[in-house]
Each structure stands twice: as structure tokens, then as C-alpha cells.
């Protein structure tokens, strides 16, 4: 019997990378999964790859109407959510001195505002005892040049988890942040050999994470195995942020 038998999961930004891998793992463990993504083609491909017990809903996590459509669909088809996995996020680099209003807004709209409204709009559908997982980043506790806005937006999510832990107390809803380090996703695969080696040299493990290694941790946080884990920021980064 799977660890998520009969559970309903919603994964934003679920059409690629570690979120897609998590969606596959959740379905293997018995869950029904809703995934979202902005590009219809990528979403269709992801739905195909997952193969069963999945619904793709096209939408942008920073667009409130799209979020309404997503949760209307979930409500109509399943009526509840047990696992909410907010992973939509994207980071562009810009150094202090070069940051534009557009760069700031793009980062904070999707990651901070988008995640906040994803969770808030999901609340009426979340079961008591549900698990909320937000994707943070090791960037939030390190100081990568050029990633000030991205890191700050991820740090904001870590802070949300603390406040929401208290605000959701009565409903026993758990809220945790999973902070991946460098993961071998399609985005990382586009890096040139030298940059890739530079990144890997910074990871004590010596190798980037594989998406399925992140998915295994997401499963832990989604399932009852982590029933007393609440409000944490869990680094899954091969030791990168520990040193």
C-alpha cells in the first residue's frame, strides 16, 4: 500500500524538473495529482509522462484568476486537498545596481505573491491534517552574487511557514519548506561544462542532486511519516548550506 493512498495533491509548477518528479512519485504512492504550468505543451507532455491519476490545469501561479480556475477544477473533480505543493518559481540574476522594478516585481509576483495566494485560495479545500510544502532555496541562506531578489523571495516563504504554523494550529495543517540545492534538472543541463563543474565543486557531496532524490524528500513531507514535522526549512542540498 502506498504512502499517499487516497490522497489528493496539487502541485503548482508541476510540469518539469523536481516538481514533475514529485508528481510521478506521489501517483506511484497512490495519490491523485493536479499539476499546473504555464505552457500547455509542457503540461500535456507532463500529464503523458505521469500517465494516470493526474489532471493538468494550465495557469500561471502569479495570476489570481488562474488560481481560481485551478481550485474550481480541484473542487469539482475531487472536492478536497490533502497535499499542497507550491513549487512555481523562477529566478533571474541581477546585481545590486542593475536591479529594475520589472526584475523585482517578476520575482516577488511569482514566488511570494503567487505562493501566498496559492495557499490562501487552497485553504477552503485543504483537509484538517493536510500538508503544505513550499519550495525554498539554499540561495536564501547563502549570498550568491546576482541572486539578491530571488534569495529574498525564497526567504519570505520560509517566514510564511512560521506564521502559518501558528495561524493554522487549530486545523492541524502542517507547513514546511523544502530547500533544494543544485539539482540536475533540464535547466541545469543547459549549463556549460565549466559552470556545471564549478557548481558541483561547491557541493560537499560532489554531485548535483537528482530530481528523484528531491521527490523522495517531498514524499516524506507529504506523508504521515513526517507527522510531527512542522514549520521547518529542510535543506536537501548535498551539504551545500551546512558549511
Amino acid at each position: 500500500m502506498g504512502k499517499l493512498e487516497g490522497k489528493v495533491a496539487v502541485i503548482t509548477g508541476g510540469s518539469s524538473g523536481l516538481a514533475l518528479e514529485s508528481a510521478k512519485r506521489f501517483v506511484e504512492e497512490g495519490a491523485y495529482v493536479f499539476i499546473t504550468g504555464r505552457r500547455q505543451e509542457a503540461l500535456d507532455e507532463a500529464v503523458n509522462q505521469i500517465g494516470r491519476n493526474v489532471t493538468g490545469v494550465r495557469g500561471d501561479a502569479s495570476n489570481l484568476d488562474d488560481l481560481d480556475r485551478l481550485f474550481d477544477t480541484v473542487k469539482r473533480e475531487k472536492g478536497k486537498i490533502d497535499v499542497l505543493f507550491a513549487s512555481a518559481g523562477k529566478g533571474e540574476a541581477a546585481k545590486l545596481g542593475e536591479i529594475t522594478e520589472q526584475h523585482f516585481d517578476a520575482g516577488f509576483d511569482l514566488i511570494v505573491r503567487g505562493t501566498l495566494f496559492t495557499v490562501q485560495k487552497a485553504l477552503p479545500l485543504l483537509n484538517d491534517g493536510a500538508s503544505i510544502i513550499m519550495i525554498g532555496s539554499v540561495a536564501s541562506v547563502k549570498g550568491f552574487p546576482g541572486f539578491g531578489v530571488y534569495a529574498a523571495s525564497k526567504a519570505a516563504l520560509r517566514s510564511f511557514a512560521r506564521t502559518w504554523l501558528n495561524e493554522l494550529k487549530g486545523r492541524h495543517i502542517r507547513v514546511n519548506v523544502l530547500s533544494p540545492g543544485q539539482v540536475d534538472t533540464p535547466d541545469s543541463q543547459r549549463l556549460d561544462k565549466e559552470t556545471r563543474e564549478m557548481f558541483e565543486s561547491l557541493i560537499p557531496r560532489g554531485k548535483m542532486g537528482r530530481p528523484e532524490e528531491i521527490a523522495a524528500v517531498a514524499l516524506f513531507l507529504a506523508s504521515d511519516e513526517s507527522s510531527y514535522v512542522n514549520g521547518v526549512d529542510l535543506a536537501v542540498d548535498g551539504g551545500f548550506s551546512a558549511i
Partner: protein, 244 residues
């Protein structure tokens, strides 16, 4: 098939509480477990409970020759070691103004020095895929009256993992910290009483104390390949106690 099938584990402080809960879960997942503890009576009761895939070695982590006997027993019976849970710990309370050298030595000898030698002496038996779990505490990141020395010892334990990530580079051995808080062990129940437990539990995000089995589940996660990309991390299992 369990996620620790064929693995060999050592759990110090394994006869009661969190250590015993981890031992139970590891065995359910297919592991063979050596528990290490100071009281023969508690060890005997634990072995009766754990069944044939457990062995007990009596000793204290603050005594190097006891640890040598532990690892000799592991080597003789199983040859290798995959998982170490350095869990043995002690705690007592004294306010600033009342702290004695004896109080510091008692706590640091077991919690810090004991943890260092538990791990250091295990290394020759361990290899690629090994997982070391250090038991920290929510006290390591929070401030509670009269917990100066205990809290500092657990903060030290958390930091050991940071350095060891570097020192273990290239070995394939991972090291993580499991930090419990507000767990309803027998020891906590004795120390706090029913009312105290209720008050403590109400401070968490779930408004209840945690069950030792919930720690066992988290320990199994850190011991297994489910956490293969995690090293140097701290996993708090405290209902949110140290997060707010």
C-alpha cells in the same frame, strides 16, 4: 520490502525513548540493530521487545573502552556498519549563577564528547552509503530557563555535522541532525507529569506532544536512501516548537 533491508545499525541510548522507537522502526524496515545503553535492566527489556534482530551492548558513550567493546561486537557479528544513531544524551537544569564545573562536565562528556567518539570509532566499519544521525534538540536553537549547558551541548552537536560534512567528503557517508522537541517519552512524562506534558504540547503547532514513533519514522527517513541528497541538514521533529 523494507527500506533498510540488510542494513546494520548502532543506536546509542537505544534502550528507551527515542532510541528505542528508532530501533523498532529500523527493524520493521529490515535492519539489524545494536542498541547501546548503561542500564542492563532497560537493555534486557528492550531486547525482549525488539526480538531476534537486535543485540544489546552495555556501556556508556563517555567511556572510550565501552565504545571499543560496542564496535568490536558489531565487527565480530556483522563485519560492517551502515547506520549510526548517536542518540545517547543527558540533561539537567541549573540557572546561570548556579552552574558548576561538574554540571558542565557531566553534560558535555556525554552529549558532545560521547557523540564525537561514538562517530569517530564507527568510521572504520562504515563505507559508501553510510548514514550518521546525531540527536540534537529543539533546545539547541531556543532559550529556556536553566538550560544553559544542555542547550549549548545540543547546539554543539548540530555544529559537529557541519564540520563532518567536510571531513567525510569523498567517503559517501552522510551525516544529519535529528532534533526532537516536545516528545512524550517516559523520561519526559516522569519529569513533567501529565499537566506539564499538556502545557508543553500546547506550545507546538499541533497542540499535542509528539509520539516517539514519529521520531522513529523521521530517523528511518534519514537512515535510508530516501534522504540520499541530504547531508549536514538538521531535521526538527518538534511540532514546530523551535520554529516559532
Amino acid at each position: 520490502m523494507g527500506k533498510l533491508e540488510g542494513k546494520v545499525a548502532v543506536i546509542t541510548g537505544g534502550a528507551t525513548g527515542i532510541g528505542l522507537a528508532a530501533a523498532k522502526r529500523f527493524i520493521e524496515e529490515g535492519a539489524f540493530v545494536f542498541i547501546f545503553g548503561r542500564r542492563q535492566e532497560a537493555l534486557d527489556a528492550a531486547i525482549a521487545d525488539l526480538g531476534p534482530n537486535a543485540r544489546a551492548v552495555k556501556g556508556s558513550v563517555s567511556d572510550e573502552s565501552d565504545l571499543d567493546r560496542l564496535y568490536s561486537a558489531v565487527k565480530a557479528e556483522r563485519g560492517t556498519l551502515d547506520i549510526v544513531v548517536a542518540n545517547a544524551g543527558v540533561g539537567s537544569q541549573l540557572k546561570l549563577g548556579e552552574i558548576t564545573a561538574k554540571h558542565i562536565d557531566e553534560i558535555f562528556d556525554v552529549n558532545v564528547k560521547g557523540t564525537i567518539f561514538t562517530v569517530q570509532k564507527a568510521l572504520t566499519l562504515m563505507g559508501k552509503g553510510g548514514s550518521i544521525i546525531l540527536t540534537g534538540s529543539s533546545a539547541g536553537t531556543t532559550g529556556a530557563p536553566a538550560f544553559t549547558v544542555y542547550s549549548a551541548s545540543k547546539a554543539a552537536v548540530r555544529n559537529l555535522a557541519r564540520t563532518w560534512v567536510e571531513d567525510l567528503k569523498g567517503t559517501g557517508i552522510r551525516v544529519n541532525v535529528l532534533s526532537p522537541g516536545a516528545i512524550a517519552t517516559e523520561l519526559a512524562t516522569e519529569a513533567l507529569g501529565e499537566e506539564g506534558l499538556k502545557a508543553y504540547g500546547s506550545m507546538t503547532g499541533f497542540q499535542r506532544m509528539g509520539d516517539p514513533a514519529e521520531l522513529g519514522a523521521a530517523a528511518a527517513f534519514l537512515a535510508s536512501s530516501d534522504s540520499s541528497f541530504m547531508t549536514g541538514s538538521e531535521l526538527a521533529v518538534d511540532g514546530g516548537l523551535a520554529q516559532i
